[in-house]
């Protein structure tokens, strides 16, 4: 799994990105370019995993940065980490896109479309990522409180943007079961994470 990122490096990176965002809010084009250099591959990876199509992921990335250029001033450093803020923008766009496609082509399953073979959607990898992420954030215990099925459902939903319906299809369980796994899982995570200090 990927290397543990030390808290110091995280803090430094956050400070750098926050400064860049502040400069972008003042229409500083070089800061914008630097912000892109530091964040594009992470955000592209996030988008690609969800939409599993390079041209759609590129489109999402492009839209997200255009948005960031126009709205960098709305970033509030006291409310969220810069990378979290940027990642939310990309995730939300990617998820909106997936849901739209789902509505457009309700009869098509995700496996039928031109998913990118480089990013296979498999539960073990997603679960590993979830645990590794939790590890990096020292909230491993929270993720560990989830049972295997819930962990799998949460990981697939988070990293691959599967909806309740898609999860039910993918995991071959009834919709109601998936919903209650997710509901219970999120509830457990929340209580556990609230007990731990928020990641910063």
């Amino acid at each position: 799994m990927s290397a543990h990122v030390s808290p110091i490096r995280l803090a430094e990176r956050s400070a750098l990105l926050a400064t860049l965002l502040a400069r972008v809010a003042l229409a500083d084009q070089r800061a914008f370019e630097e912000l892109y250099r530091h964040t594009a591959s992470h955000l592209y990876g996030v988008a690609l995993r969800i939409v599993r199509n390079t041209s759609i992921a590129e489109e999402i990335l492009q839209e997200a940065y255009v948005n960031v250029w126009h709205h960098a001033g709305t970033y509030n450093a006291s409310k969220s980490q810069p990378l979290t803020w940027l990642t939310s923008i990309v995730r939300n766009r990617a998820l909106d896109q997936m849901r739209r496609r789902e509505v457009d082509a309700a009869s098509l399953t995700r496996e039928d479309d031109d998913g990118d073979a480089e990013f296979p959607m498999d539960a073990p990898t997603a679960v590993e990522m979830l645990i590794a992420a939790a590890d990096a954030r020292e909230v491993r215990d929270c993720v560990e409180t989830l049972d295997a099925a819930t962990k799998q459902a949460v990981a697939l939903a988070f990293f691959h943007g599967l909806s309740h319906g898609e999860l039910a299809g993918h995991l071959r369980v009834p919709l109601g079961t998936v919903k209650s796994w997710i509901r219970r899982g999120l509830d457990k995570l929340r209580r556990c994470l609230e007990a731990a200090p928020p990641a910063s």
Binding site: R30, E33, V46, S80, A157, S163
Partner: protein, 239 residues
């Protein structure tokens, strides 16, 4: 649905968690996004859950996006990051070498496969000066042609190229070592002409390339491109 009511706190937390996780159905997603615009409690609940869950995304392996993504962002925003002094003194019209070489390669192909189809052109026959204007993605967008003795350039759109609403395309000559010179606003339409004050052979003397910028109605008032340069290409003199 007033999600801010205290007795609905539980429900709000659950909806916000599912929103951040990404499992909410489309209708619920849209609804929550809309409500969050004016309801602070809902906005805070969504953002709290995004904070909690988005950190998990840091584990996703980074993937370098292709360079065209940045090129498109820059072109969409009409910004020029290389224009800032610290980045050097190169002007945008001197950085077209890459596009030029790609566009050059497309000329022969386009002429050969007959995308430029003179027989169907409603305007007078154009002649042996050809410019393929391509965007940053190197895809040909417009073909400009002119007869050397005629006082107009014919432009044909080959990829449904049209300016954004309320904007116009303006055509520029790019003489080396000199600032761009406007050749005029490009009228709307698939096949149009831009009048020249001199015969094309003279108007395009010492002009190795042309470019198209996005401008306010009526064209740039500064004498220089004010909007993004969307397309450019090398002037080819056909024999």
């Amino acid at each position: 649905m007033n999600l801010s009511r205290p007795d609905r706190q539980e429900r709000l937390v659950r909806l916000a968690a599912e929103f951040a996780l990404g499992t909410s159905p489309p209708r619920v997603r849209r609804r929550l996004q809309a409500i969050a615009l004016h309801d602070r409690a809902v906005a805070d609940a969504l953002s709290a859950w995004e904070q909690r869950l988005t950190v998990l995304a840091e584990q996703v392996a980074p993937v370098t996006p292709p360079p065209r993504v940045w090129a498109r962002i820059v072109s969409r925003l009409g910004i020029d990051t290389n224009a800032s002094p610290a980045a050097g003194t190169t002007h945008w019209w001197e950085r077209l070498a890459v596009w030029r070489s790609i566009a050059l390669a497309s000329v022969a192909l386009i002429v050969a496969i007959g995308i430029y189809d003179r027989s169907r052109s409603p305007v007078p026959a154009a002649g042996p000066i050809v410019v393929v204007l391509a965007g940053a993605d190197a895809k040909p967008a417009l073909i400009a042609t002119a007869s050397r003795d005629e006082r107009f350039i014919t432009l044909k759109s080959i990829s449904n190229t049209a300016p954004a609403p309320g904007r116009v395309f303006e055509l520029w000559a790019l003489p080396p070592g000199n600032p761009p010179r406007s050749l005029g606003v490009i009228p709307p339409g698939d096949i149009v002409t831009v009048p020249l004050s001199l015969p094309a052979r003279e108007a395009l003397t010492n002009v190795p390339s042309l470019a198209v910028s996005l401008e306010p109605p009526g064209g740039s008032t500064t004498g220089q491109p004010t909007g993004p340069v969307l397309y450019s290409g090398t002037v080819e003199r056909m024999y």
